[in-house]
Amino acid sequence: MAKISIRTEGLSYAYPDGWKVLSNVSFEIAAGRTVALVGANGCGKTTLLWLIAGLLEAESGSIYIDEIRLDRGSVRSLQRKLGLAFQHPDDQLFMATVRQDVEFGPRNAGYPEAEIARRAAEAMTKTACLHLADRPPYRLSGGEKRMVSLATLLATDAEILLLDEPTNALDPRSRRNTINLLRGLDHTKLIATHDLDMALDLCDEVIVLHRGTITAQGPSRELLSNGPLLEAAGLELPLSLQG
């Protein structure tokens, strides 16, 4: 039986103003799988990623990362296994140069200088941004920022990637490069996205979220070709499946 990387049980979350974003969310993702989290705007995708990353505390329910319960005692050690790519790369890139940003994670993990440099170079090579190493992140294009933000995760020890809209606002070539990059990674990946064509192309499974509850989880081709299901969740068939 495959190892379970992420498991949630009866997860609920409400914002301080009382708005209930997630209600009784339960699912599990096996190690090495790529799963798309789809749903209309405001259905709770980002909140769910933030809960799994330990940035928010659930109102009720539990989250398990590699079968270890995520709580105040375990959050710091479990966060080392997680890499979260924020919706806007500007939130993720804060150092003076790309190289410094990519080295940030390994340096904080206490690796020796040679290992930090090796990891950074490898991550930047994989994401094709080695040539940007000495440039300040805020002067990069949207596609370049996206690649650098992925490089910052790949340089760490993360085994599970939580990606919030990784193809958002990318031109077709950058989008294709991002998809190819993600396809080549062995990590467990949970991808919140509106890009249903990417989900169809890249993901093994899909979780459909509607108004804070899961309405379906299953193989991506099966769910993403189910028009009525997607319609009920405020979505449409992927462009490649539309007539």
Binding site: D91, Q92, F94, A96, Q100, F104, G105, N108, D134, T156
Partner: protein
């Protein structure tokens, strides 16, 4: 608006200068911090009417920038932007302090000397601070504070404030640009529109700051441990610090005798 964009980029540029490789950049971060502190203390220790005696102190930023291979022009330009504030602080001196002072054959009000001294001291102090940030970057400054035994809360607050101000400037720029594009290019904000804007800007900046903090923590950042390479204090750090301190003391003693 365009001025703000340039200014924002200039501040960002300071952090880029911190990535330059030079002998000064390779020093232990405590050395430039101590030297800059010594410089500011010496400079501000001069009497309020000192003007001529302050002029040799302009050599410090010139030489340090040269050694650190940092272009001084953008730093001077940023410092000049703070000049109106210094003028605002000191402008009343020439009118309130009218005691006559004889300089050679000329007689002027004491207030003018105080005003000129304030401008020079203020300008050089701010320039020295910008230069320090350009040498150390925010991470280096944190490490310097830690190595000097300052409590973690102090440099955590300092870093937070620095990053918040940077984000705030970016957010102000974005909002003003959006306003400008949708207001028929009105040159200024109408007073009635100021009510809602500052609150929105502050909240959005706070939220982005929080997201960046999360991004840092998820990559193992612990605010108690400043980011960057650990390095020991070695002879060249002590030599650098001692040399500059000796120069400041000599200049100060010279003015006592002079």
């Amino acid at each position: 608006m365009v001025v703000l964009t340039k200014q924002e980029l200039q501040f960002r540029q300071f952090e880029e200068f911190a990535c330059i490789s030079s002998g000064v950049h390779r020093l232990h971060p405590a050395a430039p911090l101590l030297v800059t502190l010594g410089y500011i203390i010496t400079l501000t220790s001069y009497p309020p009417t000192a003007v001529i005696n302050l002029l040799p102190f302009a050599l410090f930023p010139l030489l340090l920038a040269r050694f650190a291979r940092i272009p001084l022009r953008p730093l001077v330009k940023s410092t000049l932007k703070v000049l109106p504030l210094l003028i605002f602080i000191g402008i009343l001196h020439p009118f309130l302090d009218t005691e006559p002072i004889q300089i050679g054959t000329m007689t002027i009000h004491r207030g003018w000397l105080v005003f000129a001294s304030l401008l020079i001291k203020g300008f050089l102090t701010i320039l020295a601070n910008f230069l320090l940030i350009s040498i150390l970057g925010i991470g280096g400054l944190q490490r310097a504070m830690k190595s000097l035994g300052l409590p973690p809360l102090f440099y955590q607050l300092f870093t937070m404030l620095y990053r918040y101000i940077m984000l705030l400037m970016e957010e102000i720029y974005r909002v003003l640009r959006a306003y400008e594009l949708r207001s028929g290019r009105k040159p200024k904000l109408a007073p009635s529109e100021w009510g809602s804007l500052p609150g929105g800007i502050l909240i959005r900046t706070y939220e982005q700051g929080l997201r960046i903090q999360h991004a840092m923590e998820l990559r193992g950042y612990d605010p108690e441990y400043p980011y960057g390479k650990e390095q020991p204090i070695i002879v060249k750090d002590i030599f650098f610090t001692a040399l500059w301190f000796a120069a400041f003391v000599l200049l100060r003693l010279e003015s006592f005798h002079g």
